[in-house]
Each structure stands twice: as C-alpha cells, then as structure tokens.
C-alpha cells in the first residue's frame, strides 16, 4: 500500500488529465447529486460522494453505442466502429466494481462481445472507499462493500493523506504521474483495514433473507400476491433497469443520415419494465401485464442470472430504490415483503451470491473476440413468390462458405438502414446456398420483398438450437405445422425426406387458415404422391371461388385421422402460439409422452446471441436454448405457453 499527501494526490490527478493522454473521468457534483463525467481539474473530483445517478456501466455499455457503420452507395459496405479511446475512471465504489465484474461474466463469458472487450480493455479503474452511505444503499447486506480485486488502483481517503492500493500492473504504471509516494506504515495499513471492515458492516438495511436465499424465496413465491400489490403502483417507466449497474439489456436500431446513404447501427439501453420490450411484429406483447414485467426484473436478478452465471444480479447500490418514484423498486423492501407474506424456511440455494469468473482477466490481452453484431455479406440468388405475403429467397454467403446450419436454426437478416430480423432457415442443409421464406410485416421484411436476384443482404448466424436430426434417426416422426410454422419445419421435413431410410414412419400434417395461404404448394402436392409417408392438409375455411383438395377444419381435427403409435412417435409441432395449447393437449391425451413433443417458439429477438435480453421466457433464452425446445423442458415455465 502506498501513501500520498492530499496535495500530491491532486497533482497526480491533474497530471493524469494533462499528460497521460488518457481521457480522465471521475465523480463530480451534478446539482444536488453526483455523476461520473470528464474531469477538467482535480478540484472537481468528489471522492466524498454517496452514489452517482448512473453507474459506471455507461463506460462499458454506453447509453448509445455504434455497432457498425454502413454506406449504401456500395452494394455491401459495413465497417467496424472506431476503436474507443483509452480512459481512466476515478472514484468507482466497491459495489460498482462488483457490478463491472458481473458485466465481465456476462459479456466475456460465451460469445465474447468485442465491443465490450475493446472498451473494457481500454478503461482503467481507480476504485475508492465509500465515505458517505446513501440512505437506500444496502451493499453491506449484499457483501459488496469491500472488493479485493477488479480495480487497477484503489483509494482510501485518510483526510490529509490518500492511501493507494495497487491492483494491476497497468494501475502501478499510472503512478508514474505521481510524486512523493511512500510505502504505508503498519499503523496506516491497520487504519485502512479497520475502516474497510467497518464499511462492510454499514449499509445494511434489515434485509431479512440473505442474497443466497433469494433464489429459493423467489421461486416459491412466483404467484405471491405481493407482485400484484406492488406492480399496481408501477409507472412502467423503466427507471429501475436503466439506473441499475447490473441490468444489461439493449435494443438495436438503424439510423440513416439525411444523405440517405451513410448511417450507423446503434445499440441503446432497453429494459424489461418497458412494454415494447417483448412486442413482436404481429403486435403480440409477451409480457403485456405490468405484473409480469415487474416480477421478471426481480426474478432475473435473483434467479435467472444466478442459475446461468452464478451471481445475484444486485450489488446493493440503492439506485433503483432511490430513483423509483412510487418507491416499489427497492429489492430490500420487495424481498422482505415476499418473506413476510409467506414466512417459511428459506434455503440458501446459492453458495455465494457473487461468484464471478476470475479467469476473465484474459481481457488484458488480445482482441480476438468477434463483433457479435457484424453481419457478413450475402447475395440473393433467386426470388420466388409463394403467396400474397410470403416470398422465398435463395441466398449464398459471399465468403463462399456454406452456412452450416442445423434444421430449425435461424439467421439474423440485415438490411442496412432498416434493421435486422430473425428468420428461420427453411432449406435442409444441402449445397452452398440456403433458403429463407419471409412474411411481409414491417420494416425489414417489407424491404426484402422489394429485393431481387443479385442484391446484397447481411447475414449473422446460424443461431439457436435446431432439431435433433441425428438423435431422432430411427424414430417415427409426426410433423404438425400450422401457418408459417411450416417455414422452419420444412428444413427438417426435407432433411428427413432426403434421408428417408434413416427414419421410421413419417407423417406430415399441415394446416392454414385459407387455401391461398398454403406455402410450398408443389412440395406439399408431392407429399401426397409418396407412399413412404402419410400426409394430410387442412384449411380452417375455403372461401367461395377458391379450390381446395384437402380437409376442412382446424389442425387438431387431422390428428385422429392418421395412424401413429403415440408411445414411440416424436411429434414436431410448429405454429402460432394459440396452436400449441390445443395440439399439445390433444397429443398428451393420446398418450404421447411429454419428452416426445418438440416445439419451436417465436419471441422478440434482437441480438440472437443471448445478450440483449429480449427473447427470454422466464430464465430461458429462446435465441440460444431454443427456438426448438422439448415440451418437457418448457412446461414448467409459466411464461412459455401463456
């Protein structure tokens, strides 16, 4: 531990500002509150602050961040953003350091985000002890009042002196700009230690259930009346997620300049309390009730992220508690209310609420991570209109590589200036190109409908988990497709038909509202001619003047009309949300075991790689663990078939 006199510390900060070439950011007063911002002089630095309005997450996941830039005057011109400037952030409290380490686990674990990595690598952190505790803070209860790593330098204000602890080599290197530093005396070391220990005890606000027990408490009280009582007061304003250092969800938008040529794709903070967060093109909102949104936030913090990454995504900073106007966002109050509403023995189902990946120090080296949001160039080879709203596009990657997908997976199709849309791959994996079928609903899907052979699109993926084509070999398969559900299912159907001998009995049921909505009509007609499969098709109704050679009635009416052995057949069901309810019920009634029902689900998606948070069904990411699921794994998720 080093000691530096207060004047020399100021000179050190001023030297950093003047000479280091780094952008120097620190805590400053903002009206009656505090905020991190660019430091012009050491005099502005306020290490006596209680809490900043926004956490330092804004340096690693900025409010608005360029993901890529594009230029439409070329067929496909997409560029990485500029490398972020090197920074040092002075005055980060231990709870915020804990939150940054959680962010590391989130963005640098699987699918490392290069945007995050670049900023993280280029930002030095100078931590400091909490000298004044904000009234709603409870980091003491969360065990984040003292951190022993996660910083480059760490400061403790001793009045006329400042104690500095060196965390990393890069931090030690910064001391080049400091004069008159000496080693701390044993008395000083002792004093700092005592201050820290006292701090760890402060900021405890009578949290009844320890963070290690939140998981169990939340799980057992999913249906508690507390959710309704509290969420009735909720404004749906999103504040509690936006100000939280451990909320990372984001939205992505394209911004085209007035020249109608250049533009950028931006990432911006989003939050699960906002209604639009789960809305999809058809207008369906998956968490429409504020109760569901309000509950989701706490469950994500106390259950879903702990299940996934091992930590409770709350560090007790108190920002949500102090900034929620109706005062319902405070985790301490909520946890206590849940417990008091139904006191029971809470199990410590987590061993440590702050497990983070410490091996992630690799971030100091290399930039080998992928730009997760950077699409590759691809060319439309063939366009075929299938119906009034659906068109098929055959696409090849300009790299010459095959897409390498499994049936059931999807790609993110990018049209610069418009945005991205998750679209299933509709062809079986054979040959260099792949096919997608797009229904015209909004910006991206309408634009692609105006495109022709030779035009360029961007492709990311393939993403998600597809059908278990290998594992199902030898099994009997019953395909049940409704509406545009046939699009992803077709990749599997065609795979099975291409490898017909490797599968048992195959039955294909396909239903639409009206004959004109039937897709792949030639292929469908050919199914009837084959004698190695059973096939039936139906429409809900056939308006006058249209001709129809199949059955009439909803898709469930086809099930009793075909022969299959419920015990040994695997049912593959893809269709609109409402269809699952009825079809699954029918299948279960016939004795099809739960684990033999396979479904593919649609949710709002943005990133496709398990980062943006939009596609979650409770704690499950549809873009990663799905879209293809086993019914058995979903049936206990209250949000799955709501």
């Amino acid at each position: 531990m080093k000691i530096i006199k207060r004047e020399d510390f100021k000179a050190f900060v001023n030297a950093l500002i003047k000479d280091s070439g780094l952008d120097v950011e620190g805590v400053k007063a903002k009206g009656e509150k505090f905020a991190f911002g660019p430091l012009e002089s050491a005099d502005d630095l306020r290490l006596d602050y209680d809490v900043t309005l926004l956490p330092p997450k804004k340096y690693f996941l900025p409010q608005y961040e360029q993901l890529l830039k594009f230029d439409l005057s070329h067929p496909f011109s997409v560029d990485r953003p500029e490398y972020p400037r090197r920074k040092v952030v002075i005055g980060v409290h231990p709870y915020d350091i804990a939150a940054i380490r959680q962010m590391d686990s989130y963005f640098l674990d699987t699918d490392i985000s290069a945007n995050y990595l670049r900023r993280r690598k280029n930002t030095l952190i100078i931590g400091c002890d909490v000298m004044k505790v904000q009234e709603k803070a409870f980091f003491g209860s969360m065990g984040t009042g003292v951190m022993h790593s996660g910083y480059d330098l760490y400061l403790t204000d001793l009045g006329d002196r400042v104690a500095m602890e060196i965390g990393t080599e890069a931090g030690s290197d910064l001391l080049r700009y400091a004069k008159n530093i000496r080693e701390a005396s044993p008395v000083e070391v002792q004093k700092v230690k005592a201050m820290r220990e006292a701090m760890a005890q402060k900021a405890s606000r009578g949290l009844i259930v320890k963070p290690t027990g939140w998981h169990d408490l939340l799980e057992k009280n999913y249906e508690s009346e507390v959710w309704k009582k509290q969420s009735d007061k909720c404004l749906g304003c999103g504040t509690c997620t936006l100000v939280c250092p451990t909320c990372f969800c984001y939205d992505i938008q394209d911004d085209l300049n007035l020249d109608l040529k250049t533009g950028e794709r931006l990432r911006t903070w989003d939050g699960c309390l906002l209604r639009k967060f789960t809305e999809i093109g058809s207008g369906e909102v998956f968490r429409d009730d504020i109760l569901d949104r309000y509950r989701h936030r706490f469950h994500r913090k106390g259950r879903y992220l702990p299940d996934r990454l091992g930590f409770v995504a709350c560090v007790g900073c108190g920002r949500c508690a102090s900034q929620c106007v109706p005062d319902i966002a405070d985790p301490v109050n909520l946890i206590n209310m849940l417990f008091e509403a139904s006191p029971h023995l809470v199990q410590d189902s987590l061993s440590d609420p702050h497990t983070v990946r410490t091996d992630l120090q690799v971030i100091q080296t290399g930039d080998d991570a992928k730009m997760l949001h950077m699409p590759q160039a691809a060319t439309i080879k063939r366009v075929e209109k299938l119906s009034a709203k659906e068109t098929m596009f055959e696409i090849t990657l300009d790299s010459g590589k095959t897409l390498g997908h499994t049936p059931g997976q999807f790609v993110e199709v990018s049209i610069m200036g418009m945005g991205e849309a998750p679209i299933s791959v509709s062809s079986a994996p054979n040959g260099k190109s792949f096919e997608i079928v797009v229904r015209k609903v909004g910006d991206v899907t309408s634009k692609i409908h105006t495109m022709k052979a030779g035009d360029k699109v961007g492709i990311r993926g393939p993403f998600g988990r597809g059908f278990n084509v290998e594992g199902l070999k030898g099994r009997n398969i019953l395909f049940i497709g409704g509406g545009i559900g046939i699009i992803p299912m077709r990749s599997f159907i065609n795979y099975v038909l291409d490898h017909r001998k490797e599968y048992g009995e195959v039955t294909i049921l396909y239903g639409c509202k009206e004959p004109c909505e039937m897709l792949f009509s030639k292929e469908v007609a050919s199914w009837s001619k084959r004698d190695d499969i059973q096939h039936k098709r139906t429409v809900d109704k056939c308006p006058d003047g249209e001709c129809w050679d199949g059955d009439l009635g909803v898709i469930t009416t086809l099930i009793p009309k075909v022969k299959f052995d419920p015990k040994t057949t695997v049912a593959v069901v893809v269709g609109p949300p409402i269809m699952y309810k009825f079809v699954n019920r029918e299948l279960l009634k016939l004795g099809v075991p739960e684990e033999n029902i396979v479904v593919s689900l649609e949710r709002r998606m943005k990133c496709g790689v398990g980062k943006c948070g939009h596609c979650q069904i409770n704690g499950v990411y549809v873009c990663k663990e799905g879209p293809v699921f086993n019914y058995r794994d979903l049936k206990n998720l209250p949000e799955a078939f709501k």
Binding site: K233, C234, L235, C237, G238, L258, L274, K276
Partner: protein
C-alpha cells in the same frame, strides 16, 4: 423525381414550422430530398401540386375542416406536425367551456355582431386534432417538434420505414441523460406517462414535463395520478397536469 412537400398551418403558433426553418444546414439536405412547394413560413411561392402534406395546427371551425379535407384529398401522405395537430394543442383547453363563454373571455372588447356565428371565422371554435377529422398517416409530436426527429421522420418516409417515434416514456431518455429526477428534488413531472423522443428536454433544463408529446400508447395513468397525489398535489393541480396538452384523452366528446 423528388417528392413535392407542402406545409400548411391551422390554429397554431407556427412554432413548429419555425423549427423546420431552424434546421439550418440540414435544411439544405432536406431540400435535396424533397421540393418544398407551399411553405408560408420559409418562402413565398405556393402550389397546389404536392405529394406530401405536412399540416400544423388544430382544427377549429367548419371552414378549417373543409380546407383540411381538400388537402387530404390531394396529398398522398398527410403528416400531423406538432402538438396542435396531434392532440389539439393547449388551445383545446377551451373546449371545456362553451364557444360563447370563450368568446366573452377572449374577445370581450369586440362588437358581438363581429364575432357571432354568422362570421365564419368565429363559428364553432371547438379544437380537434387532425385525425379526428381526416386520416393521418404520420404524426410528429411535440410542442414544438424536435427538429432532429423531423429529419428522421422524413428519412423514414423516403425509405419506406416506419417513422421512429418512440413509444416509451420521457423518463427513459431522461435517465440516459443522467438527469436528476425532479421528484427527488421536490418537483413533479408527467415524464412517466409522456411519450419520449424529445430527449427529455424539459427535465434536462429543470422544467417539469407537461406531456406535450401526448401519452405513450399504454400510459399507467392511475399510478401516475397516485404519484402526483402522493407528492402533495391537489385534485385541481392534478387535473391541470392531466389536461395541459392531453385533454383529448379525457374530453367527453370527440376524444380518442
């Protein structure tokens, strides 16, 4: 060929048109994209030949209604510009009183025969938003509008994209700007129910949001009113907050 744009105004302060004039350098880029043919505020020529009509102001009198219907019949796309066109504007507050009461209040110096219903300029001044009279394709909200947003809507329109008008509350942008919430320093604010997109300009400068951009599509109105009451506002003060720009949502007749 560049689309022809005409800008018209009805009952308004013309502040929104001024925002367009104030686009400064960007107006040159805008001029590269569209031909502006009718725009009293910025230039003199006028034309009856246009593709896009941008209309400012609320619709008060039968003669306004007629004129708006004519514009609608000509325009391929009709855009409502600003709070008056979108919501009926502040002047809509007058709908709470009878036309006669309003006339007495405002024109008490005038001779009664001049302001009687016989004079078409004074007949039936009930303020309505454009979409209560004709079909509106796009709306650019705000009092006044946000210039940046205007440019973005134009870009969206020309590229076939939905206009990027957010449907989240003002609080979202307010937080991203790291403002001190007015509620935490003794103030009140309509931000939690007001539609964002203005970059929370009022709270940024310490002023309370009055929801000049209207409400989000699903405002948590009850929770908002409870909050105002909790922060000590009287029923009348709450009513004022609720109706400044947004009386169209509460008005008995003609509201949404």
């Amino acid at each position: 060929m560049k689309p022809k744009v005409a800008i018209f105004d009805f009952a308004s302060c013309e502040g929104c048109e001024l925002q367009i004039v104030n686009l400064e350098e960007a107006i040159i880029d805008v001029a590269k994209l569209v031909d502006i043919v009718e725009f009293r505020e910025a230039m003199k020529e006028s034309s009856d030949d246009y593709d896009i009509a941008i209309v400012e102001g609320s619709i008060a009198r039968p003669i306004d209604e007629e004129r708006l219907k004519k514009i609608r019949a000509k325009a391929k796309i009709l855009i409502a510009l600003g709070a008056c066109a979108h919501l009926g504007g502040v002047q809509r507050l007058g709908n709470r009183f009878s036309p006669d009461e309003n006339k007495k209040e405002v024109y008490h110096m005038a001779r009664p025969e001049d302001i009687s219903d016989g004079n078409p300029y004074f007949k039936e001044p009930r303020h309505r938003a454009l979409d209560e009279v004709v079909k509106v394709d796009y709306t650019i909200p705000g009092c006044p509008i946000n210039r940046v947003e205007f440019a973005k809507v134009l870009v969206a329109l020309l590229t076939g994209k939905k206009p990027p008008i957010p449907d989240y509350p003002v609080c979202v942008e307010c937080k991203k700007k790291e403002n001190t919430c007015l509620y935490t320093v003794g103030g009140v604010c309509m931000g939690p129910v007001a539609r964002g997109g203005c970059d929370a300009i009022c709270p940024t400068y310490g002023g309370e949001c009055e929801a000049c951009r209207g409400y989000v599509s699903h405002p948590h109105e009850k929770a908002q009113m409870d909050v105002l009451a909790k922060y000590g506002l009287t029923a009348e003060e709450i009513m004022n907050r609720k109706t400044m720009f947004t009386s169209r949502y509460t008005e008995k007749k003609g509201g949404e």
